[in-house]
Symmetry: C2
Subunit: 515 residues, 2 copies
């Protein structure tokens, strides 16, 4: 399939469906010009069909073994890799992200598909537990099974890695859940290309057709999707308003379902005196580069920087010099741009502006005292884009007060040297955030077992889970215990012989032996 | 502390507090006579104080090591064991449960405290993951930390094991969370005795005072508790109406928090032809015994039994004979008794009654066809007490239809022999329930690593978790990742030397070695 052949249909269990009358167009993010393709917004019936198809396929997909699911995910990665050039080209037009960035993101996307493939091919992730029958106690065996049909909302700012074939889809498919993606309307063409790669991979590896569907639409279609009776869970990456609205809808269902919404944060960076005393400008350079990376359109963008005294004032001056050298960027959509300019302008009405955006997508830097910051909660809210608030404290105690005042964050960073005492600050940061970083920057989220990309509300709606790294799979699984269950009816992972050689907790001890 | 010395106060961080004017009385469940003690319903201010005290203690309790938390839990178990006679006596009066049952429940309660003590003393439960720095990738280390102050609602039907010092409290304290219990008003004296055991144990093992509080109250006080800003999670065992209402309150907070509500179910038992062909009445005996155990007041009470054809009719006749021999019981409270009699009477208006309760707390058995059952969803609703609905099917296919029509369940049981083909039924049961049982009965919930006591809604509000067994601890923990974090600031579990010798996932492989 080449870009010219984009059909614009919804893909419902591999079938094209385009019964609606409303259209979405892919727009060139830089010029606003329409790109090829007319994308047909899903009707209420099509949305219901997508979930029903997933529900009907769930029984078969459940029986697909971990190694076979791994082959499916590998095939998706292969298909994406082989159409990477075309996808990067389309995504570049739709998002205005650079080709270099998008190539990197494509590599990340195929790598994370392969990471989940390895995880489920190996198989120990199911947390198998076996308690053999004892005196008066039954034989009990427990493992994780797929939660069921899962709705995934593509994000605008990562057209590959957090979109149709991104980490949410990879981890839900890896867990054994059938997936319905709502494509993000800001990159419908990129979404269709990714969806076709998944559909083709599902077909070539013999997966049930309903294992994957993709629909087009906006907020209304998203709401309809979350309310489908057969749906079992939801994953979302995007704004706090949209994430909370999906969470509320799901909680109000007759049968509530879990929503994992990753809603971004301001990712505070604390600069301690020791870090500045040894620094010769590289800290300001590093901070400015992290703040403006990808036009500041990361969930982990460090939009808040906090320091003490005159050395911090000098640091802020260095940062502003760095930011003044940055040229105007193009944001993902004109709506996102308008919102950035509007909110930055509003903020500059009440707060001292160090660097102004001048009506273009240029970095913006604001400056407040710690007291002002704690008094005015709106300063701690995310302003999506290359914008930051610098908070000036008079003492370490005041800096800790600022940390304590923060809402939940994806990340919290501290820059320090051995002369700084972190014993009071460190626990506050670990309480506020899902990931704490020492002498680094929060942008750049490694995809690995130890990653935590999540955090207390409002960073996410459930701090117990992550959306990046191998542990992301646990959002989409629930445990089932089998009591005195016949060996031949048990899932392979729980049978005595442990034919897959996975790690299991047998009578309380981890082992790869048979039981 | 002997029963005569019950003060009736709320216990807020070890301090007595009784500012309210409303009183709760412990009633003898059999006679309705007031027992000793006047229990003071907590005021709104006291509820806020209890959570604030927990919040302030959370920082210190976080720093208490796993082994020290284990000593605290062991001390609680020791204190309970040493006042077991007195507690059983009071609980027997307040609940009308038998002394034998209560002694068993006390043993279960102290055992599960010791089980969680062992779990956190060993320490691997924190799921430590270490990805050492690589080329261009940072050093990342991730583990579970306590989610924070947790509200726990005691259940009426297990005055020890699911109440003040029960599994929820044990697992939350084990996870490192400060706990605020709302005592169940049906056994306030038993609750005070348990709370005093915890407070004394916290004191003798040097825990921060706010680690545990207990308040008295009803639905209003429970609502106030769940809405306290500093609260981080909620665990509840009880009715669907009350559980859902707490879930809704928590979801509607400005900052939503997770609620794990275990709300019971009807625990279907499927009797296949093969099981009956070899049976000589023991199945009916076993079923009737499970149904009437503890006057049917278990979450896992098997209130629905499904079978095929004439052999099943004969089985139902055997069950009704068994049930007719059961003498009248005393329920936990007069309200529960009234509700049982009222609902059973209402059911008998529209459904064929095989065994009637005759206005006393006697077993009730109803009989419907599969079609009737599927058409009338109210028949699948829990009727708390020794009451069951027998569903007559014409074929295995129809029996599977009945299974597919069910809402989420804590358990689903099948009785079969080798001549029965379970390949179609087994996956349906594992989809519907958290625990599936072969040739056994659901009452009796083993406390062990492989137990799953949970299930899809409405059995619980979050099927991803359990409230019994070692895995119950995961309700109260969230992961934090430490990126390039200095060794001396890392939690002990994540430092290179692995001084506690716990299992960790280092660069993707499980090991107990240093990193």
């Amino acid at each position: 399939m080449t870009e010219q052949q984009l059909t614009g249909s919804n893909l419902i269990g591999g079938r094209e469906s385009a019964n609606g009358t409303e259209r979405i167009f892919g727009l060139d993010a830089a010029s606003g010009v329409k790109l090829s393709g007319e994308f047909v917004v899903a009707t209420e019936t099509e949305i219901a069909e997508a979930v029903e198809t997933a529900y009907r396929a769930q029984g078969s997909y459940l029986e697909v073994s971990g190694p076979d699911r791994a082959r499916f995910l590998e095939a998706v990665a292969d298909r994406l890799a082989s159409s990477a050039d075309e996808m990067v080209e389309r995504a570049q037009a739709e998002t205005a992200l650079s080709a270099a960035r998008l190539k990197g993101e494509m590599t990340r996307t195929t790598s994370q598909l392969r990471m989940f493939a390895n995880l489920v091919a190996e198989g120990s992730w199911v947390d198998a537990r076996i308690d053999l029958a004892g005196q008066g106690t039954p034989d009990l065996r427990r493992m994780l099974v797929p939660i069921g049909p899962t709705a995934i909302f593509g994000a605008s700012n990562f057209p590959f890695a957090f979109s149709v074939a991104g980490g949410d889809t990879a981890s839900a498919l890896a867990a054994g859940c059938c997936v319905i993606v709502k494509a993000h309307p800001a990159h419908p063409g990129t979404s269709e290309l990714a969806a076709r790669a998944i559909v083709a991979a599902a077909c070539s590896t013999g997966m049930p057709k309903g294992v994957f569907s993709m629909i087009h639409g906006g907020a209304k279609e998203g709401s309809l999707l979350v309310q489908q009776e057969r749906l079992e869970s939801v994953a979302f990456t995007g704004s706090q308003a949209a994430g909370r609205s999906l969470f509320d809808l799901a909680a109000r269902r007759p049968r509530p379902i879990p929503v994992f919404a990753e809603m971004g944060s301001v990712n505070p960076v604390f600069i301690l005196p020791g870090a500045l005393s040894a620094d010769h400008g590289s800290l300001a350079q590093g901070y400015a580069a992290s703040l403006t990376l990808g036009v500041g359109q990361f969930c982990t963008n460090p939009g808040l920087v906090i320091g003490i005294g005159e050395a911090f004032s000098a640091f802020v001056t260095q940062v502003s010099a760095e930011l003044s050298g940055v040229s105007a960027g193009t944001m993902l959509t004109s709506q996102i741009k308008d919102k950035y300019l509007r909110e930055a302008a509003r903020r500059s009405e009440s707060v001292e502006t160090v660097v102004a955006h001048k009506g273009e997508v240029l970095p913006a830097l604001f400056k407040v005292s710690a007291d002002e910051f704690v008094r005015n909660p709106s300063l701690a809210e995310e302003l999506f884009g290359p914008s930051a608030v610098a908070v000036h404290c008079g003492s370490v105690d005041q800096l800790i007060e600022v940390a304590q005042s923060l809402h939940g964050q994806l990340t919290a960073t501290v820059h320090a040297s051995e002369t700084d005492n972190l014993s009071a600050l460190a626990p506050v940061l670990a309480k506020v955030a899902g990931r704490v970083i020492y002498n680094g920057f929060p942008t750049g989220v490694a995809v690995c077992p130890a990653m935590q990309h999540g955090g207390p509300y409002p960073a996410t709606t459930d701090s117990r889970f992550t959306s990046v790294g191998t542990a992301a799979i646990y959002r989409f699984a629930r445990p089932v215990a089998y009591q005195d269950w016949p060996q031949n009816l048990l899932p392979e992972e729980l049978r005595n012989e442990n034919s897959r050689g996975i790690w299991r907790t047998v009578n309380g001890s981890l082992t790869r032996e048979a039981s």
